[in-house]
């Protein structure tokens, strides 16, 4: 199921990373109307002073000015471009390199500078909900990957059950599915546990002897 749409941003906190404060006056004003607090992290040597570890995806939103040169070192999930909190790009110079930089930071919505008040709710709505959607898709992909890896155990468990109970593959699968539900596990996890439990005892451990003993034997 797709995540529910967030529509009320009251209590949120926007970190606006920019050096052109006049371009974001309307952004600041409109965020206030929407119940979103605003902070302007200081820029030191081109880097914004933000405690990235303290950001909370439920509360914080990053507005990053694309005209600045890499002002925030976000820990981005490279495959999915998923930042830790929603990122909304502030677009000044509309050059591909600048836009690519914002995409690489995981921006899920954009606002043109100077920001117009009428565009802010849409950008927040889009940016935050796209962030939630991407996070949800990421989680679903991870789940699919895990299940794909567990497929081998399912095949083995079906064959084992067929041999053990003298049933066909459909019946074996049904039984495994029912048992997995009964034990409140995914089918894959249950089949892995099933195969592990059925595995025979390991071979006797080999006793290593001192080297000279081996030499004596020669």
């Amino acid at each position: 199921m797709a995540p529910r749409l967030l529509q009320n941003f009251n209590g949120g906190r926007a970190h606006i990373v920019t050096s052109s404060l006049t371009a974001v006056e309307a952004l600041d004003k409109t965020l206030g109307k929407l119940g979103v607090g605003v902070v302007y992290p200081a820029l030191e040597d081109g880097r914004a002073k933000i405690d990235l570890g303290a950001l909370q995806p439920e509360r914080d939103i990053l507005f990053i000015d694309g005209d600045l040169d890499n002002p925030v070192a976000l820990d981005i999930d490279a495959g999915a471009h998923q930042p830790p909190v929603p990122v909304i790009g502030l677009v000044g110079v509309e050059a591909p390199s600048r836009l690519k930089h914002l995409i690489n930071l995981g921006a899920s919505a954009f606002l043109r500078k100077p920001v117009q008040g009428g565009a802010v709710y849409t950008a927040l709505f889009l940016g935050i909900n796209q962030f939630l959607l991407r996070g949800d898709l990421r989680a679903r992909l991870d789940d699919m990957d895990r299940r794909r890896r567990g497929r081998r155990a399912v095949v083995k468990a079906i064959i084992a059950r067929m041999n053990e109970a003298g049933v066909d593959d459909d019946e074996a699968y049904e039984w495994l599915r029912r048992e997995s539900m009964r034990s409140r596990q995914t089918l894959e996890a249950y089949c892995e546990a099933f195969m592990t439990a059925r595995a025979g005892p390991l071979d006797e451990p080999v006793q290593l002897r001192p080297a000279e003993t081996r030499a004596e034997r020669r």
Binding site: R4, L6, Q7, K29, K33, G35, Q116, G117, Y121
Partner: protein
Amino acid sequence: MSKHFRIGVMFSTTGPYSVVPRSMLNGALLAVAERPAPGITIEPVIVNPGGDLARYAALSREMLRDGIRHVVGCYTSSSRKEVIPCFEKHDALLWYPSHYEGFESSNNVIYTGASPNQHVLPLVDHALATLGSSAFCVGSNYIWAWENTRIFREAMTARGARVLAERYVAVGDTEIDQVVEAILEARPDFVFNNLIGTSNSAFFRAFRAACVARGIDQPRAIPVLSCTLSEPELEEIGTEAVDGHLSSSVYFSSLTSPANDAFTRFYAETFPDGPATSADAEASYIAMKLLILSLAETGTDDVEAVKEAATRQHLLAPQGEVRIDPQTLHAYLTPRIGISNAQSRFDLLVEAPGPVRPDPYLVQSSPRYAVAARNSSLRVVK
């Protein structure tokens, strides 16, 4: 020497929803006709888009190019949204005097009508406390009804109540029988109505007639609740079906206060042919009044100066104290719920103790997440 200001006044006084805008025009002109503010004279420049959406932007452009900086006008939300880009481009100010669905706050608009936290949310609470927990929604097929119904539905769902169905008809459509049949089949505890204009009066007449034919005491069995219903619309419905309808509004002409007595008396004297005064007429009066006071205070029609001056005004309006919230440029207004009587007026049922802060984005009162439209389809099978 007094300064002369030309003010645009733009209402569709002809067309499919002309009754309320005619009362709005009267309200705005009443403020001009009242004892003028010292040091200024006001010349209203009246235009009529005739309910044609395309005419609004063209007329706005003409007025603004002609040097007018302030326009009191628009009734429907679609017309307001149509003209806002024009006001933003020319950096002029629209004084929008009607209750609306919120989720907007242009820096080039002063909103003197009610925000959703001042009309629809009080109505939901009142309905659930007194009428029941299932509603059938009807509305005109445009942004006002869509959004107001969404806000209503989310508020209902959040309180554990149910919306049984939603039906929309085109603006101006009076073929309403199918909607009436659907309501009678669903038998909700009440109807939430967002119809406007001729569709609205056609609905009230058809619904009452269908109920009478079935022996249903409509006002008590399936009452109709609106945020749009005002006195001029009651007069349009006609005597057969006019009584027993609930309306959530910041103003009723029957309010008893010296300010409202003076307002209604002056209105009746100035416009003896009607239409009756209404919440939107009062909002238009408030808009023009605030504008005139701000022009008198600043001595200029510069938009920034007037806007700032407007947020400093405290007006003793017919509904009570009114002021503009500097953050949202929406008005502090007093929510009320009334029930219509046979004289096409409202009897006051409940009212807030004082003006309520506008919350156009419902940041203080709406659920954080959008509520799913349907209730769960899961049911117990064993």
